[in-house]
Symmetry: C2
Subunit: 137 residues, 2 copies
DNA sequence: TTGTAAATAGTAACGATTACGATTCATTAT
DNA sequence: ATAATGAATCGTAATCGTTACTATTTACAA
């Protein structure tokens, strides 16, 4: 997913394209990991001194609903990253910088048969730690 | 982990044993799944009309720090259950009632070698859905 | 260019959690 | 048993992330 693709999706669905929406997309495209709403606010305030919480959260949710962003929760905060979900996968997430690495292993295949009477609706598999860059720093 | 064991741990570490602390343990021993602070407050208010948030959260954290309770976060709320961590394992968690089922599969063995330059500090693997009881209801 | 619905600012409200001073209580040493 | 003392608790305010609301502004289509 990149900014261009995302803009196409928004247009198709009839959403209006604003400068703020483009900047939000650029912010996430330039990040290669999870970012909090607060991170985004700090970035947006450079260009838009008085940007509203409402705008931040409304657009984060919009992008999430449209599959443009992925979401997770860390330390009680929602975190978002550009969607890379062409195929099913999980993430290593750096505790220090939020950068992610794709993990293609998914444990669900192994597990499904031990849960035959259970209706599975979702699962979460995440690995936390320090990425190579943050270890040397 | 059961109430008796937990009381032993508290005594050994020099914590005082109060009626409220025992009741909290009983509440979690009687549950077989994750419960929120709110669930616990509702239960405690039956016996202690004016119990304080402070008491609830202080003791939840104390028990968690001592390994008496396990913790997870669901829908932005911290949830706790009696610890069953004699061995490493994960959980299926019912979205409706919070009941859990132990999962002995752990994907980390498979994954570790693909993260050779990463310092792994933790991981989370949880499966969500409806347990057999909640499906029939 | 104008009309209209969508997007936004500014701000209040919310829910979960944490924090704190004053009071009560469990434990231990007498 | 009792008194001393430090821990536990209450009552409540504060905090944090997030959601919600109204008035205003803006993107886009006619």
């Amino acid at each position: 997913m990149n900014t261009h693709e995302a803009i196409q999706i928004l247009k198709e669905k009839g959403y209006k394209m604003t400068g703020k929406r483009k900047d939000i997309l650029n912010f996430f495209e330039a990040s290669d990991g999870y970012r909090t709403a607060k991170d985004l606010i700090e970035h947006m305030e450079i260009s838009y001194k008085n940007i509203s919480f409402d705008t931040i959260y409304r657009n984060l949710h919009l992008y999430y609903e449209m599959g443009i962003l992925e979401k997770t929760v860390l330390n009680g905060e929602k975190q978002f990253r550009i969607s890379c979900a062409q195929h099913h996968h999980h993430h290593f997430i750096c505790n220090h910088c939020g950068r992610t690495k794709e993990i293609d292993v998914c444990p669900m295949d192994e597990v499904a048969n031990t849960l035959s009477n259970y209706a599975i609706e979702g699962h979460k598999f995440e690995i936390y730690g320090l990425c190579p860059l943050c270890q040397s720093a």
